[in-house]
Symmetry: D2
């Protein structure tokens, strides 16, 4: 899975989608509802952004995943997306989890910023207890004292989840590191550790991104990384670019 942090415009999204497709990914990510620390930061294009996502899907054949931040957003996004995403800040927003559990869409559940693995699996249980068993876990780094990276990627979460659950787990190296120069190393580590996928931020022009520019790859960097990952994946008896 790859794409921009936020859907900023139709042109920006379409350029991103082309890069994602070219790199060999199968799912396009893009935020239409952006939960930001400050109320004065860019908050997303909302339904207009979902509409662009749908058009990008029709154009490229990629599946689309989008974060939802309210019950109303679940209802709206269900008409557009293939996968609903619950973000780290909302991992224990139990009303939202239950609303996602009432849809029949796959739900990508990001780990909370300081959630234990046990709390994360319990959050997944809130979705599944409503009848929706199709949950994908996403490790995106936890908060620690170390400041060299934005968060600390908990690579051990992969074998721990594999030993405690049947749910698939993917890794988001972009939010985990916060710096594009570390993404290749962490992506390879995730695949070798046994992750079932990756979610990587790609932007046609990272320097002009409205959010998360420093952790976004440009199209060339993404293509190059995907080529490297295919070799590692093959050594692990896996294939990149299949759902």
């Amino acid at each position: 899975m790859a794409g921009p942090c936020a859907v900023e415009s139709k042109a920006q999204l379409f350029a991103s989608a082309d890069s994602v497709q070219l790199g060999g990914a199968t799912v396009l990510r893009g935020g239409a509802y952006k939960p930001r620390t400050s109320p004065y930061s860019f908050q997303g294009l909302e339904e207009e952004g979902l509409q662009y996502m749908k058009e990008a899907k029709e154009k490229t054949g990629l599946s689309i995943v989008c974060e939802v931040t309210s019950i109303q957003a679940v209802n709206t996004a269900s008409n557009y997306v293939d996968i609903l995403q619950i973000g780290a800040r909302n991992m224990q927003n139990f009303e939202l989890l239950k609303a996602a559990g009432k849809t029949n869409l796959p739900v990508l559940l990001k780990r909370g910023l300081c959630a234990t693995i046990e709390e994360w699996l319990n959050a997944a249980e809130y979705i599944m207890s409503e009848g929706n068993q199709n949950v994908i876990l996403c490790e995106r780094g936890i908060r620690t004292y170390e400041t060299a990276t934005r968060n600390t990627l908990d690579i051990s979460a992969i074998p721990v989840i594999k030993s405690k659950s049947h749910l698939p787990i993917i890794v988001d190296p972009s939010h985990a590191s916060g710096k594009k120069e570390y993404i290749a190393s962490l992506s390879k580590a995730a695949i070798a550790a046994g992750a079932d996928g990756l979610m990587i931020e790609v932007h046609p022009n990272p320097k002009e991104a409205l959010s998360d520019g420093p952790q976004s790859l440009n199209p060339q960097e993404f293509k190059s990384l995907m080529d490297e990952l295919k070799v590692i994946a093959a050594a692990c008896n896996k294939r990149i670019g299949t759902l």
Copy 2:
């Protein structure tokens, strides 16, 4: 502020309210909507609990505070309570913050489990940017590696908030420590450090509590603590038991 973690029954709440009043507190707390880690734990009496809270208020004259976990709960609780509480898990549930900001009730905003003080003040900004300036911050312990206590009370948050903001700050020593034997020490520390209030869990029979029993004081312990706190407060030129 004091009272049980959860409203379990009318009898339990009324007994709690009597203890709270006898100890000299001015606000009764009690949970009607309980955000629990597991979907299979007791989730609260919801509107029935709010009704009991209102009756306890009429009986004792105490003000009442209750946690809300969804926009719908904000709307319902606004008809019953004097103060809306946003819990630690929802500190960055921005839709909920905005809904609370649209009421004209005071909002007690608990610090997220691993929120920085800056993120916490930004969360308060989400409430205030909707026009409601009446926010009370509540430090309730942060998540660290130390396991001797449930969380680590960040006592420094008191002077830090006092230096960065005009908002009042209270402390919840019950959730911070998770053990009743440490509550007296932490309550005194909070008052001496400059906190504007305390929120303490009191239950008529902690051993039978449906949640948080080990960290709840019984009525005698609460009365005894309040008597001790009055002496410390006086030494700090403050008074306990005034709003």
Copy 3:
């Protein structure tokens, strides 16, 4: 206990000692061996610093405490000081703990930067198992994700230690907060929580200090704080300024 982070010169130490005495403290601190993160930072005056400490003791009647960072320093410092200090970085330097345990001097044992309370008590056991029961614990803040303060003062350590051990515990609000404006609040909190003492950095001219200037009080600030602390201590049935 109070005094400068490092002994820088005889004049600086004597001025500090006068302030410490005037404020009503009973023990003078001052570092002669400075464990610094970088090998290129100021490392202390070593035995020359100990000599100045002894002269300051003779001049003022204050007891003196000094950090030791090697077995050789234990041997040298034992000829000068009243209390040996083991710093946070050396809390699990077991050879050093055993050497301190072989002296008959009181040992001030600072908590490691991310030591659990259990590990800290085990470190004290290394000293006591050599026959020296005279250990004083010092809480000085733990490392967490929060960056508003240098470390996070774990105020709960006071009641936890009181429930698990008979050893006295003091608090170092200077290293815990890293900022002089928070020291008064934390000092009051520590006394109210039940601490048996405080260790506060005082420097005659903090702006010119070779280390830890931003967290050092000047003489006037120290005197003013001590006056405030006497009132809090009295409310807790304690006295400031007695050993």
Copy 4:
């Protein structure tokens, strides 16, 4: 690098050495000086252990690495080992770092339990400033709130170190995870992320180990892991089993 946590007897060490050699590793680890949290735990065979290590080296041709915990141990161990190890608890024991810097042996410097990467590189600087440039860094997990693993392996440390330093970095998945079932996954991740080596605990009979049994592989498990790692290493253009 592989071998038992502690040298327990000549027979145990020789059996371990055979397994290490059979798996294709090139360096034998084994603790002769054991820094233990409690003074009443097994503390190591000291020089007798070093003697067994030397005999194992002569028997197998493996190089040997051993932890040193005091200046005296540095002096003694220098007569026996090929690589000196400084453990996590002593990462900021600056006197020890300087003593290791005065030898001409390679020094394996483990990251402190809550050391930042910057502090770790500064600790390496203490060794190098004495004239010994031959430092190998070892990431062994940091302390966080997560309890599913003994520590949290900071896999990002690999690309961060690679961007800030020319020093080689290896990973210890045994101490990082504390559970043998996670070691294979973390070892693969480390190699894929760019680590220059691994240090893995191997014991001929983990259930009878005097320390760290639950995180030790038995000889069959080690052989099997090494075979898998060769495939991953080849995909990363590296070779396992070369110094």
